[in-house]
């Protein structure tokens, strides 16, 4: 069963102001996210990873091509209730504290109002924010905000979790915790999609990996391909081939 389906999606942005030249960020990407897998999207900085996610979330609209999430469009609140998203370098409502923030998110996701207090408490403990949950988010360090971001992403165990650079800003313990959370979620039969530019992270967890370069998916890697080859080598190889392909074209 497909959770997400991208078909020949193209997206361009204006580089400067109105009437300026356009730059193609995505030039026709197609892929699927299957139920119950962890899919990693790898790419250098500025190659269209975040744009892909924003299109998936319905924040941006594709210029060409087709995008389906749960077989529909993401505008639909019913669809959005099944999705959780952690932005890159997240900033949450700085005047609130962790509990208030998580209650808001949990309420929107339809978490049972009787259980919500316990759920939040255990999540806060899980991400290691106990003792800071009544502090306003303004006073959090970058790592703490990232932990809180993970907590909200897994709150109410949504069917499909989208994480943009989930491990950035975390200390080694935090990284371990985050990885465990992601794998646990998969083991519940749920789906995770995440991006990173740190290859080891992806290597550890993903069932499938997509390599994105210059707005195109240049390689799709199954987990079993990694048994005898390091991701790094495959990645560099793919980039070189891709570069050749572009220069030959």
């Amino acid at each position: 069963m497909k959770i997400v389906e991208f078909k020949e999606v193209e997206k361009s942005f204006r580089i400067k102001d109105i009437g300026g030249p356009m730059q193609k960020v995505l030039s026709g990407i197609s892929f699927r996210v299957k139920k119950g897998e962890i899919l990693g999207l790898v790419g250098l900085n500025g190659q269209g990873k975040s744009t892909t996610i924003k299109i998936m979330l319905g924040l941006l609209f594709p210029d060409k091509g087709n995008v389906r999430v749960f077989g529909s469009y993401t505008h639909d609140v019913k669809i959005k209730r099944r999705i959780a998203y952690l932005p890159e370098n997240p900033v949450f409502f700085e005047n609130l504290n962790a509990v208030e923030f998580l209650s808001f998110v949990g309420g929107l996701r339809g978490v049972n109002s009787k259980k919500i207090k316990d759920t939040i408490e255990s999540l806060i403990f899980r991400v290691g924010l106990q003792g800071s949950e009544k502090k306003s988010i303004r006073k959090y360090s970058k790592g703490m905000v990232q932990r809180l971001g993970l907590a909200q992403a897994f709150l109410g165990s949504p069917e499909f979790v989208i994480l943009d650079e989930p491990l950035s800003g975390l200390d080694p313990l935090g990284r371990k915790m985050a990885k465990e959370l992601i794998i646990e979620h998969k083991n519940k039969g749920k789906t995770v999609f995440f991006t990173s530019h740190i290859l080891e992270d992806i290597e550890d967890m993903c069932d499938r990996i997509l390599i994105l370069n210059r707005g195109k998916i240049i390689k799709e890697i199954e987990r079993n391909m990694l048994l005898n080859k390091r991701l790094e080598d495959i990645f560099v190889e793919a980039l070189n081939n891709g570069a050749d392909a572009v220069s030959h074209a």
Partner: protein, 257 residues
Amino acid sequence: MVRMLYLTLKEAVKERAFYSTLILYLFSLFIYFIVNDFTMFEASKVMFTYSLSVTEFLTLVLVFFLIFSFLTEDLNKKTIEYLLSLPLKRMDYILGRVFGIVFSGIFTSTLMLSGFVILNALLFKEFKTVLFLQLPLLWVMMLLITSLAYFLINASKRPVLISFIILFIYVIGVNLDDAVQFIQTKRAENIPLISKFLVKSAYYIFPNFSFFDMKISLSYGLSIGSGHYILVLLYGLIYSFILILLSILFFQKKEIK
């Protein structure tokens, strides 16, 4: 939408601008007594004007600050991106923010004016409830300003620019009525027709904030026709309603970069 509204209210209450406003209000209570000493006759009427003016001024300042801080948070720190990924309609975002800001303004203005009315009652033995008639006018004014701001987020993602534009429109809107009355007098005979035309057209396009100013009439106990009063409220409500509708309409198709 209710949750979005609640979130906005909760954020607003913890906003520093909120407390600064309350501190300024306490300060204005001090000044109240000084002003009272400086009046010669009809001190009560001067103090009624003062009460209404301070309430309006502080509430509008608060609303401006809230708009600015929410826009900064949503646009500069990109919480809007996160918010719209949550199970919320885009419409809910606009409505929740606009009414959240307006409700915090309603709460503050009611509190401040009640304080003044009680003070007036203690000082002048005159419990002037008619002053509360200014409140709905002020609320509609706030609604108008806030919906204007959230209409403008479709056009710009710079909070400073949006704030300047609404401040600019406010200053124009406050003076439009006077300007139009002036160009109809004899003293304005040598003003070129094109300027008169511009003023006239601005009169019909921009929100006329001076319509909502009945502070002096209320303080001096002049009669305000109920028809006129309702008409003014309707004018503001219809204007904001259309602004919000337009804003929602554009926002549906807005790309959040």
